[in-house]
């Protein structure tokens, strides 16, 4: 079984540019989560999809962040325009249902200069 795949693994962009991160969950996993870890801080929840619907987006920092999940399969997280404080590691995780353990991808390391 393929794990959660994230692309790219590393992205370096300038302040003001746009970046799109992609996550492919484990096949058949309806629940998809985005988390973020900024330097020196703990991993924090951003949002949760159930299939193509946003179940909980209470952790999204502001309206520069837009997450989508087309057809309930892969998900994208767009940051536009990027700011310096957006630098960090963005993790995606998926689970089969509400009570199943989360499987995390290896993350996308975003550096905004």
């Amino acid at each position: 079984e393929a794990g959660v795949t994230q692309f790219p693994s590393h992205s370096v962009i300038e302040k003001g540019q746009t970046v799109t991160l992609r996550c492919d969950p484990i096949s058949g996993h309806d629940n998809l989560y985005w988390y973020r870890r900024v330097m020196g801080k703990e991993i924090k929840f951003l949002l949760h999809f159930v299939k193509e619907s946003k179940q909980d987006e209470s952790g999204m920092p502001n309206n520069r962040f837009l997450a989508e999940r087309t057809g309930g399969t892969y998900s994208t997280l767009k940051v536009q325009p990027a700011e310096l404080e957006d630098s960090g590691v963005y993790f995606c995780a998926s689970s089969q249902d509400f009570y199943s353990p989360l499987h995390f991808g290896n993350g996308t390391r975003l550096t905004v200069t």
């Binding site: 959660v4 629940n31 949760h48 689970s95 009570y99 989360l102 995390f104």
Partner: protein, 116 residues
């Protein structure tokens, strides 16, 4: 004040030692308690999962939850160099009201090094 407090270490122990990792938390709604292991440049990997209070053992790993004290622990027996990683505690509330068990609150992580 953070909802979950975890000593970031670093913690360095000799091979074969017993390792104790701990987290405290403030939110009494937390019901699910997890320990993740994270190797460098990798994603968190679930090690142990406990619902409510009690102990759980899996091989060399034992997880303990004391809800009355809002304190959780992970013990690693006979530690090995391959156990060197960052250990993250994580917890979540019940799914009442549509909140998923997967909405995790993490500790900062403890960096563990086991030297031969």
């Amino acid at each position: 004040q953070k909802e979950v407090e975890q000593d970031p270490g670093p913690l360095s122990v000799p091979e074969g030692a017993i390792v104790s990792l701990n987290c405290t938390y403030s939110n009494s709604a937390f019901q699910y308690f997890m320990w993740y292991r994270q190797y460098s440049r990798k994603g968190p990997e679930l090690l142990m999962y406990t619902y409510s209070s009690g102990n759980k053992e899996d091989g060399r790993f034992t997880a303990q939850v004391d809800k009355s004290s809002k304190y959780i622990s992970l013990f690693i027996r006979d530690s090995q160099p391959s156990d060197s990683a960052t250990y993250l505690c994580a917890m979540s509330a019940d799914s009442a009201g549509g909140t998923s068990y997967g909405k995790l609150t993490f500790g900062q992580g403890t960096i563990l090094t086991v030297h031969p």
